[in-house]
């Protein structure tokens, strides 16, 4: 761990905030992608069932 001295809270706060925001963004993009993919697969299965 580098010696951050009197700026430890500043530097760690900036890294913590950024990593949390980016992690939430990545998780949301992946979650939304899976949600839509599953819903589309279900809708296409229903359509295939109706057609025959």
């Amino acid at each position: 761990m580098p010696v951050l001295g009197k700026y430890a809270a500043t530097v760690l706060g900036a890294y913590g905030l950024s990593l949390i925001l980016i992690a939430v963004l990545v998780a949301w993009v992946l979650w939304r992608g899976r949600q839509v993919k599953r819903a589309l697969a279900e809708a296409e299965a229903r359509r295939a069932g109706q057609n025959g």
Binding site: M1, V3, Y7, V11, A14, Y15, S18, R32, K37, A43
Partner: protein
């Protein structure tokens, strides 16, 4: 083969599906190397002390925040001129990424500014234009969500994107337009005299590469989701019609 062939959703899905694993792996590697190198293996700055380590987050996120809007501008113009749905959906997919990057740049800037300038915030030209860019991102996403017809939403958001580009340019060049305010000039320059020192510059370039690759991976993933959502909406509409 023409670039426009990838405006076909099926071709875009096939190509992006092949690219995504590589882009994701490269993004994780570059971000990991850039941030770890910058955080653990660079010295303190003689004036800014250890706070200089914030540069590896602040500069890349700010660059991506501004350039994401320019990418949205190009995609919006393609939609307005050639009516390719994939380009409108790519612009929509880029907006949440740009929004979060703007928030990261504003947040890290405020945290960095407090010990260096003695204040979290100032109505400085660059900070203010960046805050307005953040509000444009919010407005852009709200407009997409508010309009039910996707083509009308794409038209309206494209116009909003054109207007917001003024603030994206201002965010980038505010320091040059107005020689006042607290914010310094560009950290990266073709003029070696104005650049940050090599010891900070090299990990910074890797971190910037990581942020750009992360942006591309998230936009590709988001565009694929938007294409599927559009197809889902069409199927649900067909079901309702019986």
């Amino acid at each position: 083969m023409s670039l426009w062939e990838y405006a076909n959703p099926a071709r875009f899905m096939a190509l992006s599906g092949r690219l995504l694993p590589w882009l994701t792996a490269l993004a994780v590697a570059a971000l990991g190397v850039g941030l770890l190198w910058g955080f653990f293996f660079t010295p303190d700055d003689y004036r800014q002390g250890a706070t200089v380590k914030i540069i590896y987050l602040h500069v890349p996120s700010a660059m991506v925040a501004i350039n994401a809007w320019f990418m949205m501008l190009v995609a919006s113009l393609i939609w307005l001129v050639r009516r390719h749905h994939v380009s409108a959906l790519a612009a929509r997919a880029a907006a949440p990424v740009g929004l979060v990057m703007t928030l990261v740049a504003l947040g890290t800037g405020a945290i960095w500014g407090q010990p260096m300038w003695g204040t979290w915030w100032a109505w400085d030209p660059r900070l203010t234009s960046f805050l307005i860019l953040f509000l444009f991102y919010l407005g852009y996403l709200a407009l997409w969500a508010a309009v039910d017809d996707p083509d009308t939403a794409a038209d309206l958001t494209s116009i909003l994107c054109l207007v917001g580009s003024v603030f994206a340019v201002l965010s980038r060049y505010a320091v040059n337009f107005w020689s006042q305010g607290l914010h310094q000039g560009a950290s990266l320059s073709l003029d070696k005299e104005e650049n940050v020192a090599d010891v900070f510059y090299q990990p910074l370039l890797v971190a910037i590469g990581g942020f750009v690759l992360l942006f591309l991976a998230l936009v590709l993933t988001g565009t694929r989701t938007q294409i599927r959502a559009r197809r889902l909406k069409a199927l649900v509409a067909l079901e309702r019609m019986g």
